[in-house]
Amino acid sequence: MRNPYLPYPVRIDEIITETEDRNLKTFKFVFLDPDDEGRFAYRAGQFAELSIPGKGEIPIGIASSPTETGFVKFTVNKVGLVSSFLHNMKVGDIMGIRGPLGNSYPWEVLEGKNVVIIGGGFAFTTLRSSIVYMLEPGNRPKFKDIHVIYGARNPGMLLYGDELAAWERRDDIHMHITVDGTDDPNWKYNTGFVPTIADQKAPPADPDTYAIICGPPIMIKFTQPVLDKLGYGHDQIIMSLEMRMKCGIGICGRCNIGKDFVCKDGPVFTLAQLNDMPKEY
């Protein structure tokens, strides 16, 4: 069995600064050994450990979609030792990625359903992966209506601007982009917090409608009552959690909530599952 702590060596192929505060960058990695790409087969919603020798590892959601080949992408917020170092690395530098890790969004369940994606701030990465995955021509017929409610503090803080614009132009996905506030007179989308926009734009509850929520705790806190009001069942609300992690494979012991490890049993849980777990996250 392969050593699960051993990362696949990768080269940084491209670095894109995503936001105006320059704290979010997207890193596109190419595997040094092309065969590793096959070994790294993943599903939208999974994450990986980005591994920088001498600095350590950080768990980051996979932003690329399994339908995109030849590379993997991660959008990283600059917060700690490893992410700050990564932000200063250059195209061509060698590092490692270890994964894919965790469960994913429940694609077997979501097939044939309406999917409502609700995201805020930099937690949009695995949601981007999911949208790209669902919009792939081979996959799109498997899903019914797709709604995306995505907000950031201001237009300059939205991730993946070009893609958002492209999705806006399509008629097989309902985009509801919003910002908390802006003084840009040309802003042509919504203004308001994500929970408010969700209240206005999210489709009503239906046994065939599932919501995926990913965002800062405060957004989740206020979005949940909105979905409750709309009548969403708690097993139709899907969330992805964050925790401090090290091993990523359920062994090192730190990221548990109750008996479940966020790294291995999660990071994706339904609200119904979370209701049965201690409130310790």
């Binding site: 060596p9 917060v79 109750g258 008996k259 049965d276």
Partner: protein, 356 residues
């Protein structure tokens, strides 16, 4: 199952022969207490010990262990690529381990050796090791192994069980690994199995009689996680805790670790260290958020993990073998027996505070 009688004169010679085929480890007196150590040539395990201060878990799972090395020197072809650390997994034998400590490895194995992932360091070290147990005839007052799923003559996790009978050891061969070791040692005096087994049971009953500490665990599995998590006693349980890592470090079943990189010049290693749920840093997010910011939360985590989460996750008994080390060494006398009692007998409905 075969039994062998080992004359204590043959014991020494057997150990000497074993040293040629195995790296030997055993209890050695260090200062005023015993520790498991690699036995140097000619050194003998001190079989008169009661129990070691630290558990023998470090034999399989060292407190600090190298995982990889790497070079940051860009003139090297494999710079910035991790290389597997060279390890020696030649056969080892641990002589004189107590049954509770050996049983602990089985509990820990559930964590390190899973259907999805196998921790190669732990699994290889464990598989390379033969465990020669020494049945416990004089347990401490803090031992509660018999109610923690283990016992002074517990066989699970051992390859060979020795019972001290004065001039001889009565040895029960429990696995093929144990049989190979007996053969390598040349301890050949097979003895009547039926008589030996009944003698062993006699000794076992006498030893179990001497275990005075008990923990009730029967109701733990039927407790609901959330009410137990919110039980009112945690604040009182945790009050005296100073959040050191003693309980977790001396515990044979605590397995949590941290991964660190360290670089000197252009060469570096990635290694892991035991970590402890008692430390705030254990769950501190990069963002500054910490889900277990308060000491009460951390103390609760340790006991909930051992006595509830583990029970539920694996459908097993408690994640504790009753060795009593945490009770003996806790600097402020937090006693797992007391906490287990509280948890087991917790009645959420009785404790509910009526609405004002």
């Amino acid at each position: 199952m075969t039994f062998v009688k080992i004359d204590k004169n043959a014991w020494e010679a057997g150990l000497a022969r074993l040293a040629a085929a195995y790296r030997l480890f055993g209890p050695v007196k260090e200062g005023h207490s015993h520790e498991f150590k690699a036995l140097d040539a000619g050194q003998r395990p001190d079989m008169a010990y009661v129990n070691t201060r630290r558990s023998p878990k470090a034999l399989i799972y060292p407190q600090s262990e190298k995982m990889f090395d790497f070079s940051l020197d860009e003139t090297q072809a494999d710079h910035h690529i991790l290389r597997e650390a060279e390890k020696d997994y030649a056969p080892c034998a641990v002589i004189g381990i107590r049954p509770c400590d050996a049983d602990a490895f089985l509990l820990v194995r559930k964590n390190f050796d899973t259907p999805e992932y196998r921790d190669p360091y732990w699994v290889k070290a464990y598989e390379a090791t033969t465990f020669v147990g020494l049945a416990c005839s004089a347990p401490c007052s803090t031992c509660f192994c018999t109610t923690a799923g283990s016992g002074p003559f517990h066989e699970a996790g051992l390859d060979l069980l020795l019972a001290d009978e004065g001039g001889t050891y009565l040895a029960k061969v429990l696995t093929p690994k144990g049989a190979s070791l007996v053969e390598a040692a040349g301890w050949g005096d097979a003895t009547d199995a039926q008589a030996a087994e009944s003698r062993l049971q006699e000794l076992r009953a006498a030893a179990e009689e001497r275990i005075v500490s008990r923990v009730p665990t029967a109701k733990l599995k039927d407790q609901k996680i959330n009410p137990l998590f919110e039980a009112p006693f945690w604040q009182e349980v945790a009050f005296s805790c100073i959040n050191c890592g003693t309980c977790t470090y001396v515990c044979p079943t605590c397995w949590c670790f941290d991964i660190q990189d360290e670089v000197h010049g252009k060469e570096g290693i990635r290694y892991r260290n035991w970590d402890s749920c008692m430390y705030p840093l254990f769950t501190h997010h990069g963002s500054g958020h910490n889900p277990r910011n308060q000491k009460t939360q951390r103390v609760r985590q340790r006991f909930m993990h051992k006595l509830k989460y583990y029970v539920d996750k694996y459908g097993d008994g408690i994640q504790c073998v009753g060795c009593g080390r945490c009770i003996r060494l806790c600097p402020v006398n937090i006693d797992i027996r007391r906490v287990c009692n509280l948890m087991n007998h917790f009645d959420a409905t009785a404790c509910a505070i009526p609405a004002a």
